[in-house]
């Protein structure tokens, strides 16, 4: 018993150290002062660039900026804005009218603003470019065939037109386009990522593209004019909360009309093909446009690696401590009631079957974006291994030992502390260890809802198809997982001296 007491003292000391550590790391969110502007972005490079430009301009105007970049999609950004988790992000007029407001008639910024006003949102004047669908052809072929517009395609029925699968199916894609222009060409589908290369190699002649893709510049492609205005407009503009401070609004308006299609193509291309960072490309542009002073964007890699790692540890650490407390606590509370135990295990198992990205998305309406929903999601995922291992261990303790503990006159608390818990400890520990490693992996997805961590470079890397960037998140995350395994190895040695490991052996025999 002296030993088991020592074990509990050690356990208490170690968990309080972990608790202190995780809470002494700076906790963000709650009670942000007025002069902090939180900027979101979607998880593709153009969105990162526009948000980074806005961020740098606001910073130089004296605002403190929180970057919540790489949020997983339009609806996450939009909900985050409505819930006040972010103050601004770059949105497209076509996306707003079709995907968000479901009002295809609202096309201009002014019309959209009439719809947005009751929602306390506002679209600022557009950046200038239109990132819509486009039909593209190699510049050389276009000159040779004398093609400038989509209508010209009708004159060349022998052209190999190959479009992305999505474009082939969408009503506002090929079927609508063919009808609007009376095109009777045979068209097949291709994976969008391969289309540019195929075009460059001369395997195909025409494909669909986004009109600001960096590839247009790199492969020297011509956009065929949409004379009949078939494609909806996707003008990018800052979408803000109406309560954004007047000064910040003015700063953002300085970007209005400054970026045309060609400029956006060039900037996207610099990120994708010259492997420059968003910060660098954004800053170069702002300096050239005399919108901002030059800032040193190099040497941020290590700092951001450290920040991301700390944030990652904070996410998983807080979630794990919560799930240990709740998982072990709940197990102790219900293990004598088989029906409740089964129901609880079943419920936690059910949680486990929700795909992590879906669970994160489900958190947003309730908890917004950022650290809180991510921690709650991770907490829910960690619960099952801890709960199941603890419950199993508590309910499978040798019934003779249980009978002896009662018969010799141990009080309920003493039975738990001196018999049940020490005997369940090895299995409990294995559960916590599993939960920790799973959390570290799953936490990389938290970047999709603006919680940061090592998922940040992964999400950005995915957007840019940049393996280096993906590895900057993936390798440290893998390293953390390995370190966690080692840490638990050491903790187990400290917490479970020979006696309990002997139990394991005797079970194995």
């Amino acid at each position: 018993m002296r030993r088991s007491e020592q074990t509990w003292i050690r356990l208490t000391v170690i968990s309080s150290i972990l608790l202190t550590l995780s809470f002494s790391l700076p906790l963000s969110a709650a009670g942000a002062p007025v002069d902090v502007i939180r900027i979101g972005s979607k998880n593709f490079n153009e969105s990162y660039l526009l948000s980074e430009m806005s961020a740098q301009m606001l910073e130089q105007a004296g605002y403190r900026v929180e970057r919540k970049f790489g949020l997983g999609g339009t609806l996450i950004c939009y909900d985050a804005l409505r819930n006040g988790e972010i103050d601004v992000y770059a949105e497209y007029t076509g996306t707003l009218s079709q995907a968000v407001l479901n009002d295809p008639a609202a096309k201009s910024v002014a019309e959209l603003n009439r719809r947005l006003q009751p929602l306390a949102l506002e679209l600022l004047p557009a950046f200038g470019f239109n990132n819509t669908y486009a039909m593209v052809i190699k510049e050389a072929s276009a000159s040779r065939l004398d093609m400038t517009s989509i209508a010209d395609m009708a004159r060349h029925p022998d052209l190999k037109v190959v479009v992305s699968h999505e474009f082939l199916e969408r009503e506002d894609g090929w079927p609508g386009l063919a009808e609007a222009y009376g095109l009777g060409l045979d068209v097949t589908g291709i994976e969008h990522g391969l289309a540019y290369q195929a075009l460059d190699d001369g395997v195909i002649d025409i494909t669909d593209a986004y009109s600001t893709d960096g590839e247009l510049k790199r492969y020297n492609l011509r956009i065929l004019d949409d004379d009949r205005g078939f494609f909806p407009q996707y003008l990018a503009a800052p979408l803000i909360r109406s309560d954004l401070p007047e000064g910040a609004r003015e700063v953002l308006m300085e970007l209005a009309g400054r970026i045309d299609d060609a400029t956006m193509q060039r900037l996207n291309s610099e990120v994708v093909f010259e492997r420059k960072s968003f910060a660098e490309v954004a800053n170069d542009f702002l300096v050239a446009e005399r919108l901002a002073a030059s800032v040193d964007t190099s040497g941020q890699a290590w700092q951001s690696l450290l920040d991301n790692t700390l944030q990652h540890l904070k996410l998983t650490g807080v979630a794990l401590i919560g799930s240990v407390l709740v998982g072990v606590g709940a197990s102790l509370a219900v293990f004598r009631m088989p029906t409740v135990s089964r129901a609880l295990t079943y419920f936690c198992g059910l949680l486990q079957t929700i795909p992590s990205i879906a669970l994160l998305a489900l958190m947003i309406p309730v908890f917004g974006i950022g650290m809180l929903p991510a921690v709650i999601a991770l907490f829910l995922y960690s619960l099952l291994p801890i709960l199941r291992n603890t419950l199993t261990a508590l309910t499978t303790i040798d019934p003779t030992l249980v009978r002896v503990a009662v018969a010799m006159g141990l009080k309920e608390g003493e039975q738990l502390r001196l018999v049940y818990l020490p005997l369940a400890l090895p299995s409990m520990f294995a559960g916590i260890r599993t939960a920790a490693v799973i959390s570290i992996g799953t936490a990389t997805l938290a970047a999709f809802i603006g919680a940061g961590g090592l998922g940040d470079p992964i999400v950005t890397g995915l957007a840019l198809n940049d393996v280096n960037l993906i590895l900057q998140g993936a390798l440290p995350a893998a390293g953390l997982a390995v370190l966690t395994e080692l840490l638990f190895e050491v903790l187990e040695r400290l917490l479970l001296p020979g006696n309990l490991r002997l139990v394991d052996q005797s079970v194995a025999r």
Binding site: R3, T400, M408, S506
Partner: protein, 242 residues
């Protein structure tokens, strides 16, 4: 003769409705070893568990040392030593910590605990080096003796033994019998021994209770039972096993 354990019209059924004990009345002498003998399923273990109030009777009353079972069950159970087949030692505690457990919870001084432990260990014929080892490192016989030390640690007036010698090989068993009888005499502890082995009962007990299907076949001094079995069942039992 004062009363050690009394049963007055005690009945006990399982949840399934099966009656384990049926209107049992007993009066067991103090300061002696009483053996409760029966086949498995006869209700003998249930009888034992009613004494330390791990089970509560459906009908009738159990009295221990001339008093009803008190409300403070923990104190009641700690006043009664308990040892089972296989010893039931806690595998995460050393042998010594197993023995000391209750005394530590009762707030004994370190010195008093160690002295008592040494005394019991020597009486049971265990080597000094078992203290810091774990139960799994001992033989079955040694574990059983540690289990007896644990049951006796708080100097109980009553000892409940549930087939403690059954899992031990016959040669070791004889040695433990002798140790036990000596310790039991020195400690002056009344003992209630549950066993299916009539020879063991005859060897260790001065008073016998023969149970069969929840009813008492015969209860009385060992000699009396041996010489004048009250029922055919008791007579057959004696014939077959002795």
């Amino acid at each position: 003769m004062s009363h050690c354990v009394e049963f007055h019209g005690v009945s006990k059924s399982y949840i399934s409705g099966h009656k384990v004990l049926d209107d049992v009345t007993l009066d067991l002498p103090d300061g002696e070893t009483t053996a409760v003998v029966g086949e498995s399923g006869s209700g003998k273990t249930t009888l034992l568990q009613l004494v330390n109030a791990v089970l509560v009777p459906d009908q009738g009353e159990v009295r221990v040392f001339d008093a009803p079972i008190p409300a403070d069950l923990v104190a009641h159970r700690r006043s009664i030593g308990y040892s089972v087949q296989g010893a039931g030692l806690f595998p995460h505690m050393t042998n010594q910590e197993n023995v000391l457990l209750l005394a530590r919870l009762e707030g004994w001084s370190e010195q008093a605990m160690i002295e008592r432990y040494q005394d019991l260990r020597e009486q049971m014929g265990l080597d000094a080096d078992v203290a810091d080892r774990y139960p799994q490192e001992l033989s079955g016989g040694q574990q059983q003796r540690i289990g007896l030390c644990r049951a006796l640690m708080l100097r109980p007036r009553l000892l409940l033994l549930d087939e403690p010698f059954s899992a031990i090989d016959p040669i070791t068993r004889v040695g433990i019998y002798e140790r036990f009888e000596e310790v039991q005499r020195r400690e002056g502890v009344s003992t209630l021994l549950v066993t299916h082995d009539i020879r063991e009962a005859m060897k260790l007990a001065r008073y016998l209770v023969i149970v069969r299907s929840g009813k008492i076949e015969q209860a009385g001094p060992s000699d009396q039972v041996r010489h004048s079995p009250a029922t055919d069942y008791v007579a057959t039992l004696l014939e077959k096993q002795l």
